[in-house]
């Protein structure tokens, strides 16, 4: 359910950066979402389609890069994917570990069309 407010945050940040870049239009939004966060791609897309009309991001493509969860074993230092190993190191059997990746939740970059490129006769 909270993807609604999340998507509004995304639009606010995108609008802010697009404005600073003197953009006419946002074409692509690159998001980075770790598997350990509670955010669902389809749900973000659903609310984006609902909230973006009338903003600079209307019609923009959401590119969501999912980051799989990776854990570093505190005993032997092995790095393993969380999904298969259930928090047990496949090399030494130690339970637990330090999360290396998988908690990301950020906007990495946006692709915009600047004002000048929208003049008639010019392909953005």
């Amino acid at each position: 359910m909270h993807e609604l407010s999340i998507t509004q945050n995304i639009l606010n940040i995108v609008g802010d950066y697009a404005g600073r870049a003197v953009a006419q239009k946002v074409t692509v939004i690159h998001l980075v979402v770790g598997e350990l966060t509670g955010f669902v791609d389809d749900s973000i897309q659903f609310y984006f389609d609902m909230l973006s009309p009338g903003t600079m991001a209307e019609g923009a493509r959401l590119e969501i890069q999912r980051i799989p969860a990776e854990v570093r074993c505190r005993s032997c230092g092995a790095i393993f994917a969380l999904e298969g190993y259930k928090w047990t190191c496949p090399l030494c059997g130690e339970v637990g570990g330090d999360v290396q990746r998988g908690r990301e939740f950020r906007i990495d970059s946006i692709e915009v069309v600047q004002g000048a490129d929208l003049t008639p006769g010019r392909e953005p």
């Binding site: 953009a23 350990l36 908690r103 950020r106 970059s109 600047q114």
Partner: protein
């Protein structure tokens, strides 16, 4: 043209949470964010704690629920200030909601505030409020596999309270394996075993809470 952003999507909430935290730090108030699934005993633990702290510490409670004042009504019977937040469908509390709730409390007369978050193991994790201490309750009938299914919350908390330990003879919950797993995930974690029904372990929990508050007392 590509524009680099690299900004956390929750940065607006994080900023307001930091403001809440600054305000509470200046007042020397410790805020405990209690998270758990529905029915795990969040309200029961808060009620038990209020009974133990009566006359020792000035406590208030902020109750977060999607709807109703059922929990707030129970807390009010203990004679402490209580604010009900109804999120109207939203699955978690956030920093603006805490800010509004704080404005309704006599902050200059408080040492400790318990925030009962919406019953949910997923969404509350990502939204900071301005709290000092995060706690998750894992109740025995829910099973000992929750850290596998909801790693985010067990990575985010300072303490895990295993509630309903009086039911251990009747349901499968391997306490040793659970402790080993959550300690492996989050080594600094405090683990407390309690029963809000019998009162077992409540004194140790309350002692831990008092210790957290003392650490944050304004000099």
């Amino acid at each position: 043209m590509k524009v680099s952003v690299v900004q956390g999507i929750l940065s607006a909430n994080d900023q307001l949470a930091a403001q809440n935290r600054d305000q509470l730090d200046q007042l020397g108030i410790c805020v405990v964010n209690v998270m758990a699934s529905p029915g795990s005993g969040k309200t029961s633990l808060i009620l038990r704690t209020l009974d133990q702290l009566a006359g020792r510490m000035r406590v208030a409670v902020i109750e977060g629920d999607i709807a109703s004042t059922v929990d707030a009504d129970k807390v009010a019977t203990r004679g402490v200030p209580v604010v009900q937040i109804n999120t109207g469908g939203q699955c978690h509390l956030d920093a603006p909601m805490l800010r509004n709730a704080l404005a309704q409390l006599p902050l200059d007369q408080l040492d400790l505030i318990f925030v009962e978050n919406v019953g949910n193991l997923i969404c509350p994790v990502d939204f900071r409020l301005g709290e000092d201490v995060n706690v998750v309750i894992a109740s025995v009938p829910e099973g000992d596999d929750k850290p596998y299914k909801y790693p985010g919350i067990f990575l985010a908390v300072d303490a895990v309270v295993i509630n309903k330990v009086d039911l251990l003879p009747y349901v499968h919950f391997d306490v040793a394996a659970f402790r080993r797993l959550v300690t492996g995930m989050n080594p600094g974690l405090q683990i407390l075993e309690v029963s809000c029904e019998t009162g077992q372990g409540i004194a140790e929990w309350v002692a831990w809470i008092v210790e957290q508050r003392e650490k944050r007392r304004r000099p």
